[in-house]
Subunit: 220 residues, 2 copies
């Protein structure tokens, strides 16, 4: 049985993702969960506190996905990082779609998000260096490694927003998720050695890409 705190977070996440942060009040969340607002406020004093708790889940999930990789990094492991990363963003898409507004009104959250971005970028640049060192990727100018890592993040973060705004539907099926993984890998592909590139591409094509976020949930 999920704790009330977890139920509040799961219910809030569902409402934020489907109706948008602005349209959802703590009253809506309490109604949705069939609990009293008093009970909700006992656990979370405001919508911002719920968003803060959801960010902590994102942070935890990112730490699980971006644990140190054993070397040599296999094409399958590398592809899985992207699949898991895309699924975190898909699961918490309200957060990434509203990051500018959220960062603007909550300075603590803004600094925590900057910290998350900082270490995930550093992790990615280290991984690129490891791929170069093991001969899976060709050398890159120093500044371009960072630009490449930033581009990968910009694409992963904004893929769900792109599909909603451009395709006009929620990122709710496997095809969109796999496309997002392919898009986010594409900036790196020309730098991979041919065999590694083929194996990464095959790993994405064959991966079960949808719903892989389950292991990162606070499960009942």
């Amino acid at each position: 049985m999920a704790s009330t705190k977890d139920r509040i977070l799961d219910g809030s996440l569902e409402l934020f993702n489907t109706k948008g942060i602005q349209a959802v009040t703590t009253n809506h969340i309490a109604d949705h969960l069939k609990i009293s607002t008093g009970n909700l406020y006992y656990h979370y004093r405001s919508k911002d506190h719920i968003i803060q708790a959801l960010f902590e889940r994102i942070d935890l999930a990112a730490r699980e996905v971006m644990a140190p990789l054993p070397t040599p990094i296999t094409p399958q492991q590398w592809a899985q990082v992207f699949v898991h990363g895309m699924n975190i963003v898909r699961r918490y898409r309200f957060f990434f779609a509203n990051i500018v507004e959220l960062a603007g009104r909550d300075k603590l959250l803004a600094s925590q998000f900057r910290a998350l971005t900082g270490w995930t970028l550093d992790w990615t640049i280290d991984a690129i260096d490891a791929l170069i060192a093991q001969g899976s990727m060709r050398e890159l100018a120093g500044d371009d490694r960072r630009r490449l890592a930033e581009n990968v993040f910009i694409i992963i973060w904004n893929w769900t927003g792109f599909t909603v705004a451009f395709r006009g539907h929620e990122l709710s099926h496997e095809g969109d998720t796999r496309e997002g993984v392919l898009h986010s890998m594409l900036p790196l592909m020309p730098y991979f050695k041919p065999k590694f590139a083929r194996d990464v591409r095959a790993a994405i094509d064959n991966a079960k890409v949808f719903g892989q976020e389950r292991s990162f949930l606070a499960e009942p």
Copy 2:
């Protein structure tokens, strides 16, 4: 002397960009411009109508930037499209930072934005084909051309949001703008022939990247 309509749009744009859409009401806009709310409502009945009119400016600016290119496309012309594109997004950054929310609550705007995205992507794919045909770029698998074009757009649209959320400041200086142009060109760079790649890079390094949106403004 700018018309009242243009003054309302310019003032609204400034407030939306600096304070966020949610925080700005039509009263704030009227106060900011030292006009009565009656006068404001005479020109625009609601905040959504102002946003609609600002979108029309974005659409017009995109049509100016993405006019048919004379062939062969020079590296300098190609770089300039990206400089101008980045400046449109920088100038109307509130719009791109809130596109998911805006598309969610305004179906007309959502369909207009999808149309804009559709033809700008088609324009880009055609331009990639022209660059391949003129020998400036190597062949690409069909699906990857579209993915590449979409990645370029995702990076341009979200660069200002990335800098605000990650660097913690508004995109207000030349360095950030030039970095955005470099980032948005990077996905294409490995596919350019070496001389074209060097010349595009030099054109970005030497371009006056900041404030080039002026020609797209409704000028006084």
